[in-house]
């Protein structure tokens, strides 16, 4: 963990993307590995279009509070680009690692024509300027390629593990996935996970 204790991880996205599930998978895997974990969630009425943000505090020594102080994130895992930018602005710092999914979920302000969604170039530029390492992954496309868009969050989880930001690897997650998924789905999810790892190692750093 390179001396970061507690390790502060933020998983962010829009309600319905599986944000909470991912945060819990990470939490349970880390607890299984012997760490203290606290997860704090902020819902913007998640199922009704709002943003969801999970703060994870991971520590070997002690249990920490459920909210990360401003500017205190070490890793940001963004399932949605706009939410990633928002979290980066509030919790980022020059040393932060960011892994973001490229697929937008348009807020009402954009779908009703009142505002414009930032373009891919602008997003990449912003990520680059506000972090020390950043990836923008087409996780949703990868997931759709595997047959289900909802797997994007598992792809992103794989990417997180592949980046080395967590002190554990895929082995720590297998028992969790096995326990929490219906039997038939395990292989597909592991495939998605591995694709995520691959994306990060193969792609290097696109931004």
């Amino acid at each position: 963990m390179e001396g970061k204790d507690p390790l502060n991880v933020i998983v962010t996205g829009v309600g319905g993307q599986g944000n909470v599930l991912i945060a819990q998978l990470i939490g349970r895997a880390m607890v299984r590995a012997g760490y203290h974990v606290t997860i704090g969630e902020t819902y913007g009425a998640s199922q009704r279009g709002g943003a969801v943000m999970s703060h994870l505090r991971i520590s070997l020594d002690a249990q920490y509070g459920p909210l990360i102080p401003e500017g205190g994130a070490h890793v940001i895992l963004g399932l949605e680009p706009l939410e990633t930018l928002r979290v980066l602005a509030q919790y980022g710092n020059p040393e932060v690692t960011v892994i973001a999914n490229s697929r937008p979920v348009h807020p009402l302000a954009v779908t009703t024509g009142a505002a414009e969604y930032p373009g891919r170039e602008q997003i990449i530029r912003t990520l680059k300027q506000l972090s020390s390492r950043a990836w923008l992954l087409d996780a949703t496309d990868i997931a759709l390629g595997l047959g289900a868009g909802i797997l994007a969050n598992i792809v992103m989880l794989g990417a997180l593990v592949g980046s080395g930001a967590l002190p554990v690897g895929l082995e720590a997650f297998e028992p969790e996935l096995r326990e929490s998924l219906p039997a038939g789905k395990l292989d597909l999810n592991l495939k998605a996970f591995r694709k995520g790892i691959h994306e990060v190692s193969a792609a290097g750093e696109p931004v």
Partner: protein, 638 residues
């Protein structure tokens, strides 16, 4: 899949605070659990209900918190340990019974969990539940960690049984809804129901009140003794700190991290209070005597702070000069939720030092790069929500009626109609059932020249919780208003819990469904039923009901919640926009569907100058096809 009932004793599990509370109850051998759903408390009885069969216990969603508490009290009287959970508003609803139960006393342990929602993320008020402990002379515990959530709940049953009174446990969002690793203990099987066998004529009565009042005080004094040696109160820091932080609940983590962030472990001490009421006076006075400055860190009101001041006021000679900081001195806000930054700021300010700041260059860069683009996501009704359709019709009907009619609101997903999601139709929002109560009052002002039609909206779960007495009040007192019941077959906002109208109970068993329409008809009022997706029909029915000024009228707008429906059936329609026919921004439409109707399934494509369906979000309800003036939205049976 493992549940709170089956997790192995001795294992470490990542639990939500509410799950930890539930597990604590199981480890105490709870047999009866009751609640009305309310954020952030719902998962307590929710997880007990899920585990009920395995754990061999009984769990119910009660109609409201007062009945929930009464039902649980019955279990306690009969010798079964019981737990009741509610949000802060639930304490208000239950308070009438609580303020007699405290005098009555209990038999088997009875624990009441109050989960507060600081900043009202999901509430219509911001309220600190703790003062009820002082008001009702009841012991109150505040868990600060997830481990404590479990352990304190288990202990609360012991406290309750030793004192023969209710033991309150107070949580907040950041404990109840956050998750942390918890080491589990051994669940105890629930006791068998004993008998209801009063040992005296007044054992289970609150009378005679003065006598019982005195006895109640004696119980409280006993609690104070108990709490002096509780392991849930502890101190960390130097013997004679420059500053003593006194904290409870979620304040504990924030305080600990703040002291660390400022590097003041050697000069700042932290007294964590777990038994918030009655205060363990000797312990507290002992710590206060070691310092001259106190900073109190707690959620919502200055309850702990003022109680400390009161304690000090009665013991001035033994503590010496003391300055208090906290909400009273405005170092911490007296409203809104705490967060780590607020506490660091307060601590730094009291210590007279600079709070470590974020690198300013980074902050400026971040603001410049993201300031314009990050519009807060507005919450609104889901695609396909029947409420959107209902409020569209309400908006139009009120405008057409033209007499300045308005809607009195209530609590549920439809509360969002206060804002743009529901076209700003709700004009009042307070407590459960209040919309109908207010309407009952407005409806009597006609004799004083009041001419505006009043429509009270109320969800199906809210109807059973509190609106029925208000409806009967309107009928009995011949008030003039329309009650619009939004029946979407769910208690949706809090997580789709079943209720008396849905035909299933908390433990998933089929049960009799109470028929709202029949109940209203039995009151002898004019009742009509409409499908909210029939915009024209609903508007016409509403207009007709508003024009009929003969007492209370009821319109039931009935259609399943979109999310519930999505779990049960596939979409009814496949939707698309014919972009050739779409009038877009031109005179004759000006983007009615995306700009005004604003269903998230409809998106404006400025490149093509036409609306389009967002297939990922669209739920296929078909309603938008009926509002398009150009018939450009095509609806095909799926």
């Amino acid at each position: 899949m493992a549940s709170i009932a089956t997790y192995a004793p001795g294992s470490d599990q990542l639990l939500m605070g509410n799950e930890a509370i539930a597990r604590g109850a199981l480890e105490a051998g709870v047999g009866f659990a009751s609640a009305y759903p309310g954020t952030p408390s719902s998962e307590i009885i929710g997880s007990l209900a899920e585990a009920a069969k395995e754990a061999g216990i009984y769990a119910e969603w009660s109609v409201n918190e007062k009945v929930a508490l009464e039902a649980a009290a019955a279990a306690s009287f009969a010798g079964v340990r019981a737990i009741v959970a509610m949000k802060q508003n639930g304490i208000n609803v239950a308070s009438d019974f609580l303020m007699t139960l405290n005098l009555t006393g209990t038999n088997a342990g009875l624990v009441v969990v109050a989960s507060d929602d600081p900043s009202a993320h999901s509430s219509t008020n911001e309220q600190d539940s703790r003062p009820i402990a002082k008001w009702a002379d009841l012991p109150l515990l505040e868990p600060a960690t997830f481990q404590e959530a479990k352990d304190m709940t288990r202990w609360a049953f012991e406290v309750s049984e030793e004192l023969k009174t209710v033991c309150l446990v107070r949580g907040v969002t950041r404990v109840s809804h956050a998750r942390g690793d918890v080491r589990l203990g051994e669940p105890m099987p629930p006791g068998q129901a004993g008998r209801f066998a009063p040992t005296s004529p007044i054992q289970f009565a609150s009378l005679p009140a003065p006598l019982k009042h005195n006895l109640m005080h004696q119980k409280l004094a006993k609690a104070k003794e108990l709490f002096e040696s509780s392991r849930f109160n502890w101190y960390t820091g130097p013997e004679k700190p420059d500053l003593l932080v006194v904290t409870s609940g979620s304040g504990w983590f924030y305080s600990l991290e703040a002291v660390k962030a400022l590097g003041r472990e050697d000069s700042v001490g932290i007294l964590k209070v777990g038994t918030t009421w009655p205060l363990p006076e000797k312990l507290v006075l002992g710590r206060l005597a070691q310092t001259e400055k106190v900073l109190v860190v707690e959620e919502v009101d200055a309850f702990l702070e003022n109680n400390l001041k009161e304690l000090v006021g009665g013991n001035l000679s033994s503590v010496g000069p003391l300055t208090f900081y906290g909400k009273g001195s405005e170092h911490l806000p007296a409203y809104g939720e705490l967060n780590p930054d607020l506490v660091v700021q307060a601590l730094a300010s009291v210590l007279g030092i600079e709070k470590p700041a974020r690198p300013s260059e980074y902050v400026e860069k971040a603001q410049a790069l993201t300031g314009l683009v990050t519009h807060a996501r507005v919450v609104g009704f889901c695609a396909g929500c029947p409420h959107r359709a209902t409020f569209w019709s309400v908006k139009n009907a009120l405008k057409l009626d033209g007499r300045g009619g308005f809607v009195t609101g209530d609590i549920g997903c439809y509360t969002m109609a206060l804002g743009p999601a529901g076209y700003f139709q709700l004009k009042t929002v307070q407590a459960m059932g209040s919309g109908t109560g207010l309407a009952s009052g407005f409806g009597k002002l006609g004799a004083m020249g009041f001419k505006q039609p009043v429509v009270a909206v109320c969800g199906d779960s809210t109807f059973f919780h509190a609106a029925i007495p208000a409806l009967i009040n309107g009928v009995y007192n011949r008030s003039n208003f329309t009650m619009l019941i939004l029946d979407n077959s769910a208690t949706a906002m809090t997580g789709f819990q079943p209720h008396p109208g849905t035909g299933t109970n908390a433990m998933g068993e089929p049960t009799a469904a109470v028929d709202i329409e029949a109940l209203c008809r039995a009151l002898g009022v004019r009742v009509e039923v409409t499908d909210p997706f029939d915009l024209k029909g609903t508007t016409e029915k509403l207009l007709g009901l508003m024009a009929d000024e003969g007492g209370v009228r009821v319109l039931i707008s009935r259609r399943k919640c979109a999310l519930v429906r999505a779990r049960q059936e596939k979409a009814a329609y496949r939707m698309r926009v014919d972009s050739e026919r779409c009038l877009g921004e031109s005179c004759g439409c000006n983007r009615l569907c995306t700009r005004v109707f604003q269903c998230p399934g409809l998106a404006w494509d400025s490149a093509s100058g036409a609306a389009r369906i967002d297939e990922v979000v669209c739920s296929g309800c078909g309603v938008c096809a009926d509002i398009c003036p150009a018939s450009a939205i095509i609806r095909e049976v799926a």
